[in-house]
Amino acid sequence: MKPAPGLAVLLIGSLLWMGAASKDGASPPRFEEVSQAAGLQFQHVSGSPDKPYILESMSGGVAVFDFDRDGWMDIYLVNGNSIEDLLAGHRKVSNALFRNRGDGTFENVTEKAGVTGGRWDMGAVAGDVDADGWADLFVTGFAQSTLYRNRGDGTFEDVTERAGLSDPLWSTGAAFADYDQDGRLDLAVTHYVQFDPANPPERTPLCSYRGIQLQCGPRGLPGTQDYLYRNLGEGKFQNVTEAAGLVTGHLYYGLGVIWTDYDNDGDPDLFIANDSCPNFLFRNDGARFTEVAIESGVGLNENGQEQAGMGVDFGDVDRDGRLDAVQTNFSDDKNTLYSNQGEYFSDASYRWRLGEISWQYLGWGTFFFDADRDGWLDLFVANGHVYPQVDDYQIGTRYLQRDFLFHNQQGRSFREIGKEAGLEAVLNSRGAAYGDFDNDGRPDLVVTHIDGPALLYRNVTATEQPWVGLDLRLASGATAVGARVTARVANRQFVQEVRAGSSYLSCNDPRVIVAPAGSEPEITLRWPDGTTQTLESLTAGRYHTIKQK
């Protein structure tokens, strides 16, 4: 895709905020599907069409990151396998790294880069684990996780074993953050269920849905412990799960994971979306974590029922300075928006008009992003059912589903506009991430589909709302994961965080776009180590690399 016209208009000297352009009723978000034209040719493979095993329904994620530091966001897509090949120790497909040429097209550099992946991969997250300024890549998968170290020359090396990250379990979500604020990125990895394709679980009454006989799990299968790895430096990690307080006595089915400072106390907390179980929220208490999901109001829904947590994100949807949470769930249930009330969260899904519409859809990848740059966070949700068999019945849901785009109605509620915004594909979505692939300040989308293509949606929303993009870097040159950006306009504040890992087994563009409508905002940064900085004299309409001093 080509850079948007007008990108070259530099407003030198100050962040010139054109209040007149930030009118209400500006054009709603609009996307164009450009995968073919952009050369993003990828076919996901995940077992057989009828999905007799749960392993066949869960892949795969997508990571958006700039692996070659050319200023253009690249795309890493995760692939699956077939049960037969898995058992035979083969894999005919591979993950794929697409390099953004900067002209609107991508080239597949997987082989050259050496990031073909493991046995049957699930998700991916990018983070500069050795703080050398080059983003590394961590890939989760069935019975194997892989850490690819970015050599900085367009190639990666598998350093999993050396790093102490070998993992025979079924890993799903992964997210980086510097939880102990020692300047190094630590890693949280979720695990799903214990599953052996050579000895699949015996059928029980739990292997059904609405009386339809289906694949078994996750209910009825043993869960597995999620892991926290502390980055010791020099390329080594240590599994500190127990010492850090992440062993709760409950083995749940972990999927989406995100680090976020939900309580705004300056350190990253850890949220894990658990499938068919209560979620986990590990509050960072300094030396250790305390699991507080249920008492914080994000463990269960408003009726005290567990949901099938898949994807997750945190964002300040009402611009009150507090990070709210969204979690995607199963069909016959709603996606849940947890409104951060300060002391705890309340389930505000219906008030935000997120609940009813999602009832027949099964949600996966999700993220808050300002699609139309009106200063209010919109919400994307990737949809697709787990069971192909639902198409044989009249239960109101289908295997292939369209995705949702919820347009934020000025902090009062959402309006679902996916179809009219151009998200018309009816496929079986899984991972999803945003990335500003043409650096025009309008976040684009990439969505993966099980047994299907990856789709790239270019954001073509007509907007003149000024913006600045922030590429926040530590002194080492590594992305400042965990940094918090607060934009204040009048008496409202708008909080964003730099993250590595969220959604469903995916990873968004780590840069932050600031575009609160109204007037020129005051932008302050809080770096991961807690130091703060006010930004001044930024030119609107472009990205700025801000390095911590």
Binding site: C277, E295, I395, G396
Partner: protein, 369 residues
């Protein structure tokens, strides 16, 4: 003359006979029959009762009297009318009638005992049917279904047998098989709204929502006032995520004057999601008023009260809910939230822990070794 429907002439003949032979039992029997057929059941009852009181009632008198009581839903007197004949073991018909009445009176064991002398390996369909109904009433579905199936096998064109078998299959979770029976019942009796209603229910449960909708519509066309029609339509629409339509159905059910508590509960749940908090609370409270021991209804009231800033009221509802169902995890969770709102954080923590423990137990999750 009676068979030809010439009741007035028959009445004259009987009256003349009674003038000549007052109290003649056979003539009195026909007098009662004529009275019944000319909408004078009171007179028929009086005639037959007098015979019984005088100790002159013959088996046909008792059978007719029992049927009159049955028509009046006076099960006690119906049973007393049939019982002497059934007890003697001399009248198969009386035993069948008594068993039917005992089933109506929910005396299922008594019904089975009444039928026992007439049971064999080759029961006639009416005996199989009644045995099936009795076991169904007892909740013994594995025993009920074969009896009802035997009745249907022997009398496949009896819509009622198929209907009752459908109910048993539905109750037993065999939704497709139940739908088949109700479908055949509606074919045999296309004017039977209840059969269409339960056909709709079975199809709904068999994940055939569109066909269920059609069946419900057919039921409504035959009898728009059919009890529970709107309720089932509401549940169908709610289950399919058609919330606008579900609200309309539950509202219509309530507007029809129902006192069926779940209708109020479902409507309360749906509209409170749409910001109609106060009306939602009123409806939820009405559901509790109608069924005070229902923990689910109590929980909705509690949540709505909590959301309206009335934790004391919420707590009162939850205490009742937990008295009814102490292992209801979500109620412990809500109680935790209530206690949290009231500043009782330690008590709240205990409730949250209990909610988690019960959730793990219910979902049979393995503990961390």
């Amino acid at each position: 003359m009676i068979e030809a429907g010439r009741f007035r002439e028959a009445q004259d003949v009987v009256d003349q006979g009674l003038e000549q032979a007052p109290g003649h039992p056979e003539l009195l029997y026909w007098k009662a029959v004529i009275a019944l057929n000319t909408n004078r059941s009171e007179q028929a009852l009086e005639v037959l009762t007098r015979l019984v009181e005088q100790g002159r009632a013959l088996p046909p008198h008792r059978l007719l009297l029992g049927q009159i009581y049955e028509a009046r839903q006076d099960w006690q007197n119906a049973a007393e009318s049939y019982r002497p004949l059934a007890t003697l073991g001399s009248s198969r018909q009386a035993s069948l009638f008594l068993a039917r009445v005992e089933i109506r009176r929910r005396n299922y064991d008594a019904a089975i005992a009444t039928l026992k002398p007439w049971s064999s390996s080759q029961n006639p369909p009416e005996v199989e049917h009644l045995l099936g109904l009795a076991y169904f009433g007892k909740g013994d579905l594995p025993t009920a279904a074969p009896h009802l199936e035997a009745a249907v096998r022997q009398s496949p064109r009896q819509a009622g047998y198929r209907y009752d078998l459908g109910l048993a299959l539905l109750q037993g979770g065999r939704f497709e098989a139940a739908a088949e029976q109700f479908e055949r019942a509606t074919e045999l009796d296309p004017q039977w709204p209840e059969a269409f209603l339960y056909l709709g229910r079975a199809l709904h449960d068999a994940n055939r929502g569109e066909e269920a909708l059609q069946a419900f519509q057919n039921a409504g066309n035959l009898n728009p006032q059919l009890p529970l029609l709107h309720h089932h339509l509401g549940l169908l629409q709610k289950g399919r995520g058609n919330f606008d339509e579900a609200i309309v159905e539950f509202q219509e059910e309530i507007d029809s004057g129902t006192n069926y508590a779940p209708a109020f509960h479902h409507l309360a749940e749906l509209i409170s999601r749409r910001g109609q908090a106060e009306r939602g609370r009123q409806l939820a409270e009405r559901a509790v008023e109608l069924d005070p021991g229902n923990a689910e209804f109590r929980m909705l009231c509690a949540r709505l009260a909590l959301e309206s800033g009335q934790p004391e009221e919420a707590q009162a509802h939850l205490m009742v809910a937990l008295e009814e169902e102490p292992d209801l995890g979500p109620a412990h969770y809500l109680l935790g939230r209530v206690l949290q709102a009231r500043g009782q954080s330690e008590e709240a923590a205990r409730e949250f822990a209990e909610a988690r423990r019960l959730g793990d137990l219910k979902s049979r999750r393995t503990p961390n070794p």
